[in-house]
Subunit: 232 residues, 2 copies
DNA sequence: CTCTGTATTTTGATTGATCAAAATGTTGAT
DNA sequence: ATCAACATTTTGATCAATCAAAATACAGAG
């Protein structure tokens, strides 16, 4: 239907809206997200607007149209279902699946996707805790970055459960795996030093099936702590 | 590593060699196989020769180099393992998986591929009976089109087993599915009318698990019969 | 040996996606 | 109100992959 380039533009715009809450994405942010030059974005954006996938207010930013958003949501569904599939069905390492899914999301047909969805039992979230849009194109909204409850903002001493990791960088994900702070893990902030920018916490493993279960300690920066969303 | 265009050129040349036995493929056949114009082939072939993937004797044809063949075999391995995966793991319909695999073969990484291979238990053939190259890049040779034993050349009255379908066209595959002549089925040629170009045979279902098992009759043209390889 | 038909290569152009560098518009500080 | 700093758009080029149509080489018939 669309080239993978087009799909990547749409997905980046959707993701920006989800993360930032802003309805409009500035060209510079898009260039940054896609790792292309600003001029390239201007050119592509004009073409996509032509196709009715987004609206473009010159010098301000872009916004997905209804059909653009629908296409973007389909791509995101593919991405997240594929990630889940790689981890659950193929037992691949958690930290690497994002890049694999990045390539596969453009090659998986709708027919294959629905078979995968079925095989996995219609999962609601992917291995990072990110919500998977359903087949009807509905995406559970996660609340903007501001009101998020994370290891940087949650109550100290209370026990929480890791709900979602807001970063796909392999190095960070490796760190998360090593500390045991994966979605599902139970965690308690032991001490948060705002001045020093350090958060120290106690991790209690998976609780459910599988994981090592043993308790451990994790120390991380405030910025990093802010990427770990907790709940309950 | 290579663009999907390049991968398709290499795969087409390898497949031509396997099917025809000829070591060299004329540009016209390549254009036909890839559904591009002859001029395009000339251009691309020069570029691929530049990269050391094939050797090009002007006005005669192309031949894969060692490294070109290795790359082609990797692509073929991906294609056939993906097909097997789609049928065995995702329970997709036999007849459609070729086109799906056509897209996925360029997006599946080596890491993902080996996980799939493992999951499937290192299968030796794909759902059409085509041999799957192993991880070391060895491809079981199938014998040229001449010496092949097929429903067009096998003994009448003897019972055979369908080994391989030498055609990926969806319409033909649909026909095969409907008649039950899939790899694994037992079959006996009841009558072969060379003059009329018609082969009539009796099909006995899967034998093993799954299939309907009941006997049925299939009537097909001599050309079509020649695409159904039998053994034993 | 010549000619003709077919396969192949050349030529000139197009499309999608990209870049670097120059030009331009906008915003915020003074 | 002016100007500097920065973001955005324009401009002119490039690269990979393709096409249609013209030019060319070759092989077999005579």
């Amino acid at each position: 239907m669309f080239s993978s380039t087009v799909e990547n533009y749409l997905k980046a715009i959707l993701l920006h809206g989800e993360e930032s809450g802003a309805g409009v994405m500035p060209p510079g942010a898009l260039a940054e997200a896609l790792d292309v030059s600003p001029g390239t974005v201007t050119t592509m954006v004009k073409a996509l607007a032509e196709q009715g996938l987004l609206s473009h207010k010159p010098r301000a930013g872009v916004k997905l149209t209804k059909s653009g958003r629908a296409a973007a949501v389909r791509v995101l569904r593919k991405h997240r279902l594929v990630e889940t599939f790689l981890v659950s069905a193929l037992k691949m390492d958690w930290a690497g699946v994002h890049e694999e899914a990045e390539a596969l999301e453009h090659a998986v047909s709708d027919r294959v996707l629905e078979k995968i969805d079925e095989l996995l039992g219609h999962p609601a979230v992917d291995p990072h805790g990110d919500p998977i849009p359903n087949a009807r194109g509905e995406l559970a909204g996660g609340g903007g970055v501001g009101e998020r409850l994370t290891l940087a903002s949650c109550d100290v001493k209370t026990q929480w459960r890791v709900a979602r990791i807001h970063d796909q960088a392999p190095a960070f994900l490796d760190f998360i795996r090593d500390t045991g702070l994966k979605p599902g893990a139970r965690v308690r902030v032991v001490r948060r030093d705002e001045a020093g920018g350090v958060v120290r916490c106690e991790v209690k493993g998976e609780g459910g099936a599988g994981g090592a279960g043993g308790a451990g300690e994790a120390v991380l920066g405030l910025g990093e702590a802010g990427k770990i969303e907790v709940r309950k």
